[in-house]
């Protein structure tokens, strides 16, 4: 699963769709790669210590925590962004919050979480395949 499509932007500008998608998904992809790496290294370390299947579960659950959180934040920013921006403009309590910033940050978090989940899945299935073969 990749970052959800952005409603409202489809006809926003004329750049080629592929290029725009590449720009948009780059932070998500980088974060996902980092997440997968972290998960793999962590699980490799756990493999030495002992109970791997429990570690895979916990790692996957932590990944889905980050993923869910990021996804929720992302859609929250999209859904409420205009309202919060206009509320701040009206009340002059500018904390510098912008919808674009919030979306970008959340994309990183959900990407990282997704990476961790995928990493845990990969390690987990590799190990169970190995165990089954042995």
């Amino acid at each position: 699963m990749s970052a959800p499509p952005e409603p409202g932007d489809a006809d926003a500008d004329a750049r080629p769709a592929l290029e725009r998608a590449a720009v948009r998904f780059r932070p998500v992809g980088t974060a996902a790669l980092a997440g997968a790496l972290v998960a793999a290294v962590w699980l490799a370390a756990r493999l030495v210590v002992g109970d791997l299947s429990a570690s895979v579960e916990t790692t996957f659950a932590l990944g889905s925590l980050a993923f869910g959180f990021g996804l929720l934040g992302w859609s929250g920013a999209v859904a409420l962004g205009r309202g919060i921006e206009s509320m701040q403009a009206h009340l002059d309590t500018g904390t510098g919050w912008t919808e674009a910033d919030a979306r970008r940050a959340m994309a990183r978090i959900l990407g990282f979480g997704l990476g961790v989940m995928l990493g845990a899945t990969a390690v987990g299935s590799a190990v169970s395949a190995f165990v089954a073969a042995a």
């Binding site: 959800p4 409603p7 409202g8 895979v56 579960e57 916990t58 996957f60 659950a61 932590l62 990944g63 889905s64 925590l65 993923f67 869910g68 959180f69 990021g70 996804l71 929720l72 934040g73 992302w74 859609s75 929250g76 999209v78 859904a79 409420l80 205009r82 309202g83 919060i84 206009s86 509320m87 009206h90 009340l91 002059d92 989940m117 845990a120 899945t121 987990g124 299935s125 169970s128």
Partner: protein
């Protein structure tokens, strides 16, 4: 005018919200210390039976398989059957019974909050620094300081026990059978639909205290936001000009200013709907109204995970829906926003 396409695009956001919440719920259930199989089987169950339950719940599958299944189930709002609270009843059924109860409470609470908060906020702003202004602001501060689980019992003791004007708890007098006339699940609506005036009066009398308790919170927040938003509008140039031109023009502009001032207020109304659901948990407990608030608390306590999942997702769904409604309202108030 709001286009259907715009509303549909907004509704599409429900998908990532619900997938996000479902992932959060999934992770929390897996990270929390309880063991669902043991909860269902009971502490004294044989090891073999516990293993059987584990197998039937799919707890032995790899976690990513469980995650995928969980999302697929959640998409169909299918959470299986309640473990403990209403054993062997589908979660959907339990929620369908309890949801209208909370919804009705929140609706009337919000109604009280909005219908008192907005005029008070405007009054406070127009008469800035007068006694009315100070009283309103102190009232709002007190409204936030007094916890629902104290103001509720005090109102019950005063109006129900001492004065005997209103009923103590529940949704309607026990003499009436609401289930027989159930259509929407909202007692005030169902009794009207059935055309039974006595039952309707009973339902309204039961609603007054809990809705007021929960409405005071909304009122405090809304009046504060309305005041500052209205002050902002009053200070603008065109208002000064209007004031110089005389009373008639002033009223016209106040009307126009009100429209502008409403935009941030509506955001607050939407966002604090979540707080309202939190308040409903406490209010339902105080007034012995069995809605999904008390259901959630009970389910967390005893470890009835299917119920927890269903309730949390329902809360998220409602909250998002309300806020999407808020978003659409902007476009009505200020058509420029849609671009």
């Amino acid at each position: 005018m709001i286009s259907t396409r715009f509303v549909l695009k907004r509704l599409l956001l429900l998908v990532p919200v619900l997938v996000g919440v479902a992932s959060l719920v999934f992770s929390i259930l897996h990270l929390s210390p309880g063991d669902p199989a043991l909860t269902i089987a009971g502490e004294r169950a044989s090891e073999e039976f516990v293993r059987q339950v584990e197998e039937s719940l799919g707890l032995n599958d790899p976690i990513w398989v469980q995650y995928g299944r969980f999302l697929a189930d959640a998409a169909q709002f299918q959470f299986g059957e309640s473990f403990i609270i209403q054993r062997n009843t589908p979660v959907r059924e339990v929620l369908a019974n309890k949801l209208p109860v909370t919804l009705e409470l929140a609706l009337y609470g919000q109604l009280i909050g909005i219908s008192l908060g907005i005029p008070l906020g405007i009054l406070s702003a127009v008469k800035q620094d007068s006694i009315t202004d100070h009283l309103t602001r102190i009232g709002a501060l007190a409204g936030i300081s007094v916890p629902i689980f104290w103001s509720g019992p005090l109102l019950i003791l005063l109006f129900a026990q001492m004065l005997g004007w209103l009923p103590t708890s529940g949704r309607i007098s026990v003499l009436y059978n609401v289930e027989a006339i159930r259509v929407t699940g909202l007692v005030t609506v169902d009794t009207l639909l059935a055309g039974n005036w006595d039952m309707f009066v009973s339902a309204v009398r039961h609603m007054i205290l809990p809705a007021s308790v929960i409405g005071v919170y909304s009122m405090a927040l809304i009046s504060r936001m309305m005041r500052s938003s209205m002050l902002e509008v009053i200070r603008q140039d065109y208002m000064r000009t209007a004031r110089a031109k005389g009373q008639g023009a002033k009223i016209t502009v106040l009307k126009h200013g009100f429209r502008n001032a409403m935009i941030p207020v509506i955001t607050v109304i939407g966002i604090q709907f979540g707080g309202l659901l939190g308040g409903a948990v406490l209010t339902e407990t105080v007034f012995a109204i069995g809605g999904i608030g008390t259901l959630l608390v009970e389910a967390i306590k005893v470890g009835d995970y299917p119920i927890v999942q269903g309730t949390v997702l329902t809360f998220a769904f409602l909250f998002t829906l309300v806020n999407l409604g808020v978003d659409v309202t902007y476009s009505v108030l200020d058509p420029r926003i849609e671009q």
